[in-house]
């Protein structure tokens, strides 16, 4: 309403808008109180860990605080040749302090993330440094191990100087920032993460596709069968939901292994020779099979709920107007199920992209996903900041897919039921 139009008053003389707002405010407040516990819960268990992860992934103060003098001394170093005696001396002083505080182990872990080979030379330096004489530290340190005389290792230390860095994100895509500040790829044989990202996307995509191909007829049957049959079928679809994920994956292991049920059956029927049993587990195939089965209900249910709302008279109308069954399906029925396809695909894809247990158990080396790598860094290398960085990259990827989906299809078109 433009301000030119005359203000409407209630019978009591209060402007109508004010009066309306007053009434609505109370309702809004009530509504807010109702959702407040959930909001708080989300804030505590969802938003704050993500912020924590974000912080963790860029936080590099451990190294910065461990080697304060070294980094000050390094400021003047151009990084082209070995640093000056000044730097070595500062490093020695910092290092001695760390030994006192028993923190040199942590430093070695951190530096080892940056460049392999630090762990052993730091251990060695710790032993030898007890007998160091004053002065000429450069010679003495370089004498401990040849790597201490390698400029690469000193560059690696310098890269860890800032308190906050995005180097973990670069590492997540097999890149690093070199001395000139350029982004470069790591050596060919050490590129592992990019391959893993591609594989994760590929597996998620195909799992979504397989789920769609299998779920569409099931959902259609569910939506069109008479009640007594459709209920039974629905139970069959939901039954896996009531079984533990671990149990389901384990049963796939029993089925798929080389001495497993499927192979035994194939050998028994003579389709496969006994010495040529199929390898269906501990590789990509296993991941595909098990994940498709486990994620299938997430595709069936949104599809079903959409198909249920499509009036059968629409298909009849299509046929009565002369459309063959195929044309009627393709021009009438299928377009109306797109909201369900979108919802189901998005759901399955997002779940698949972050799937962990199943690929861990049946994936072997070639069937693991990025989430397995994240878990590996959390549990084994304890490089939490790298794990956080990769986790956030995964989250960003999911959000990007969501965004693209919204641009292409529109989120309003999603129907979950």
């Amino acid at each position: 309403m433009s301000s030119e139009t005359q203000q409407i008053l209630t019978t009591d003389g209060i402007p109508l808008e004010v009066s309306l707002k007053k009434v609505e405010r109370r309702n809004k407040f009530k509504a807010f109180l109702l959702v407040a516990p959930l909001l708080l819960f989300l804030l505590i268990v969802y938003i704050s860990p993500i912020i924590g992860m974000l912080f963790n992934s860029v936080d590099d103060r451990m190294v910065t605080n461990a080697l304060p003098k070294t980094f000050i001394a390094m400021e003047k170093w151009d990084g082209k040749e070995l640093p000056s005696e000044e730097v070595f001396e500062a490093f020695y002083i910092d290092f001695q302090k760390l030994i006192e505080e028993e923190k040199e182990g942590k430093l070695s872990t951190q530096l080892n993330y940056e460049k392999n080979g630090f762990k052993s030379i730091i251990k060695k330096l710790r032993r030898k440094s007890k007998s160091f004489e004053e002065g000429n530290y450069k010679e003495q340190i370089m004498g401990v191990h040849e790597r201490w005389a390698d400029v690469e290792y000193w560059r690696a230390i310098k890269r860890r100087a800032p308190s906050y860095s995005y180097s973990k994100y670069l590492k997540g895509v097999d890149m690093y920032q070199n001395e000139e500040g350029k982004f470069v790829q790591v050596e060919e044989d050490r590129r592992i993460y990019k391959k893993l990202w591609v594989r994760t996307l590929k597996i998620a995509f195909f799992v979504t596709l397989f789920c769609f191909l299998m779920a569409y007829p099931i959902a259609h049957l569910l939506a069109t069968l008479p009640m007594k049959y459709s209920n039974l079928l629905m139970i069959c679809v939901l039954l896996p939901f009531w079984t533990s994920l671990l149990v389901r994956t384990a049963s796939w292991m029993i089925l798929l292994q080389q001495q497993g049920v499927v192979n035994d059956f194939l050998v028994w029927t003579g389709l496969v020779a006994d010495d040529k049993r199929l390898v269906m587990m501990y590789n990509e195939t296993g991941t595909y099979i098990a994940m498709t089965q486990i994620l299938l209900p997430f595709m069936v249910l949104p599809l079903y709920s959409v198909m249920k709302t499509i009036s059968p008279s629409l298909v009849r109308a299509g046929k009565s107007l002369g459309g063959t069954p195929f044309i009627t399906f393709w021009k009438v029925y299928f377009p109306l199920t797109i909201p369900g396809i979108g919802a189901g695909s998005l759901l399955v894809f997002i779940l698949a992209i972050g799937y962990y247990i199943t690929p861990e158990l049946v994936g072997g080396a070639s069937g693991t996903l990025i989430s397995n790598m994240i878990a590996y860094h959390m549990k084994s290398t304890l490089d939490w900041s790298f794990a956080s960085a990769m986790g956030l990259m995964l989250l960003a990827g999911v959000l990007a897919i969501y965004w693209i989906y919204n641009k292409l299809v529109g989120i309003d078109n999603i129907k979950l039921g």
Partner: protein, 364 residues
């Protein structure tokens, strides 16, 4: 209507869904070309099943349906070339009005110009020119209905089926649509099979009406005959209003019979379904055929007490207690002449025995 060759023929058609009960029993029905025939009946009477069999969405369990003398049981719906209007219009919600109408034309491989031409014609027929780009959900119920009618006619089918197409509309709209559909039918001469449970709709629109009950056609005739001369008590009670008296035939001769009621009184009626003395019967009399202060020549004259007067604007319904029937309804035109019609008064009522039809006992 007198054409000897029937356009649609149901020949001894039975239909059962569960193998235990018949939904349609031994249906024989001939529909002539250009006719507007209505299948009228209560829900569950089998009328929609008949329509679905004709459209091809159900198969007869027994018997055969002929379209233009060709058996069609084995022809799938999309090859029958029958237009159909569905109960809830069944417009494709993701397509515009134009695309909805283009659907049957595209599958028939018409050229773009022909399609445009036919759609223009069809839309102007239902006075919706200029609505081509609208989506169905941007149209009112009446407009959607017209699009559905236009879509069912746009590919020039010889036969159009309509399954309670006006059921979802409000009363005024429904009435104007009735005339509109009737006029479209008259203008283009297509054969229409129309299903409804609304008897006034059926009477307004049809050339002939088939009254369904219990899987059978109870009566097939033109509207006035159906109303004036129902052949059994189901039809009499289903179509319009009727006053009934149950009793026993005591005398029968020369197109007249005497029926003795429970109160002992005897009324003279027209024997339609009764043939001999002693038969139980139900006598049916239309409210407007009974008049107050009857003329001398009327052979049924009785006194009744006014129980209730229900005001209907142009007329009033007067409920009488007459010959033991407390639900006897009389229609009195709204005029200033009759001031003695008051509750509790006694009045004289009479009718011609020819209008009191003695029918069978069976009733819904």
């Amino acid at each position: 209507m007198s054409s000897s060759k029937s356009f649609v023929k149901f020949d001894k058609v039975d239909k059962s869904y569960d193998g235990k009960t018949l939904v349609v029993k031994d249906l024989n029905l001939d529909i002539n070309e250009g006719e507007f025939i209505t299948m009228l009946g209560p829900s569950g009477s089998g009328k929609t099943t008949c329509l679905m069999m004709l459209a091809g969405f159900e198969t007869p369990t027994n018997g055969e349906i002929y379209l233009d003398s060709k058996p069609i049981s084995r022809i799938p719906p999309h090859k029958r070339g029958i237009g159909m209007v569905f109960q809830n219009y069944a417009l494709f919600p993701h397509l515009t009005v134009y695309e909805n109408l283009a659907f049957p034309l595209k599958v028939r491989k018409f050229s773009k110009d022909e399609i445009d031409n036919k759609i223009d014609k069809a839309l102007s027929m239902v006075s919706l020119s200029g609505f081509e780009k609208r989506m169905p959900n941007q149209l009112s119920g009446g407009q959607q209905q017209r699009v559905a009618v236009a879509r069912s006619l746009v590919f020039d089918p010889q036969l159009v089926l309509m399954d309670e197409p006006l059921g979802a509309l409000d009363k005024n709209l429904r009435e104007s649509m009735q005339y509109e559909i009737k006029h479209i039918h008259e203008n283009i001469g297509v054969t229409v099979v129309y299903v409804t449970h609304d008897q006034s709709e059926a009477l307004t629109m049809s050339t002939r009406i088939a009254v369904f009950n219990d899987g059978k056609v109870q009566q097939l005739s033109n509207p006035d005959k159906l109303y004036e001369e129902p052949v059994n008590s189901f039809v009499a009670e289903f179509i319009g209003e009727t006053n009934t008296f149950s009793g026993e035939v005591t005398d029968i001769a020369e197109g007249k019979c005497k029926v003795k009621l429970a109160t002992g009184a005897e009324i003279i009626s027209n024997p339609i379904k009764v043939k001999s003395k002693g038969e139980k019967t139900k006598v049916s009399l239309r409210p407007e055929r009974a008049i107050i202060d009857p003329e001398e020549k009327m052979d049924n004259k009785y006194k009744g007490k006014i129980e209730e007067i229900i005001y209907h604007g142009d007329h009033a319904r007067v409920r009488l207690n007459l010959l033991g029937n407390k639900e006897f309804i009389l229609k009195v035109p709204n005029s200033s002449a009759r001031m003695d019609i008051k509750r509790g008064n006694e009045i004289n009522v009479g009718w011609n025995s020819n209008d009191a039809r003695a029918l069978d006992l069976k009733s819904i």
